[in-house]
Amino acid sequence: MNLPCKFRHMLFVFIFGTAALAVASLAYAYQASFIPASRLINPDELVRILQSAKSEKPLMIQVGSHVLYTQAHIPGSEYIGPASSESGVLSLRKRMESLPRNKFIVLYCGCCPWNHCPNVKPAADALRAMGFTNVKVLHIADNFGSDWVEKGYSVAKGD
């Protein structure tokens, strides 16, 4: 196929650029920063819901490390396991499979600064794929210690 030289250049740049962007996108696909703002909930907002007598209480799921959960977690929340691992996602699916798809669910981790957390996005994606429509992800900017414990919000310890 004889294409004009200029067109060939443009085609080459387009294919190369698309491939580079695809690789970059894959590298970031798991990152929490790619969760839309509409699916986030801030700690103070969650605390208000938990303290309100009228609000529907969410099912809260910690999708991070067990060692961190044992040290401190949101009272009433359940430990599932790091959703960055296949076994963590499987545990999450198993726990959720029997629940109504409009169940209010809050996922959280707090292992790392938000844009480094490997767990919340895979967990949120898994629940969306299962058809859950009312899932929020707790936006923990730095870590659970700084953004929850040190702010004086309720904490539980142990398993």
């Binding site: 060939r8 080459f12 060692v67 960055s84 790392c112 844009n115 490997p118 870590n143 700084s146």
Partner: protein, 184 residues
């Protein structure tokens, strides 16, 4: 064709640049966690290393210790490991001992990681009790610098530039105690 290659390279540089900016933004936010030094004695612990042998922190008294709480699944922690390997290589003979405390839920991924990253310092498997001893390890990474006298010289929450660690380590190695300025 050359022009096309140049455009392709330019795109790669752009993507790499964006990645760098995003990571730096994260690191800058993490650096806010660097807290002022308090001269506290580092709590002793005994934890199993990757071969199952107990490691006692107190047995490293007399050395400058960089105690790194980390996990294999933690991005910023992983980024720091090659720098720690380099620091251990460069300053080990002068009295630096880096000790990793893995907060993974088990040793299996840590063993594999240890080999892959050619880690040259001991790694123990941490637990919630150890985290609590150090004021709660509720986010990773967290690193403590401990002077030769066993005093905690600095605590760094979040990813920290290796030059910060290096400056503090050099100061501690020179001072012979835990009372040198950490520079943070």
């Amino acid at each position: 064709m050359k022009k096309g290659i140049l455009w392709g390279l330019a795109l790669i540089v752009l993507v790499a640049g964006l990645r760098f900016v995003i990571r730096r933004h994260g690191a800058a936010a993490d650096l806010r966690g660097t807290s002022a030094r308090k001269q506290l004695l580092a709590p002793d612990f005994s934890l199993p290393d990757l071969s199952g042998q107990d490691l006692h922190l107190s047995s490293y008294r007399g050395k400058v210790v960089l105690l790194d709480f980390w996990a294999t699944w933690c991005d910023p922690c992983r980024d720091e490991i090659p720098h720690f390997v380099e620091l251990q290589n460069n300053y080990g003979s002068q009295g630096l001992q880096i000790i990793g405390v893995s907060m993974d839920d088990g040793p299996e991924p840590v063993r594999e990681f240890y080999q892959r990253f050619k880690m040259n310092y001991p790694v123990v498997i941490g637990n919630a009790k150890t985290g609590e001893l150090y004021g709660g390890v509720l986010g990773l990474p967290i690193a403590f610098l401990i002077g030769r006298d066993g005093g905690i010289s600095a605590k760094h929450i979040g990813a920290t530039n290796v030059s910060v660690f290096e400056k503090e380590i050099v100061n501690l190695l020179r001072s012979g105690a835990g009372s040198s300025s950490p520079g943070s």
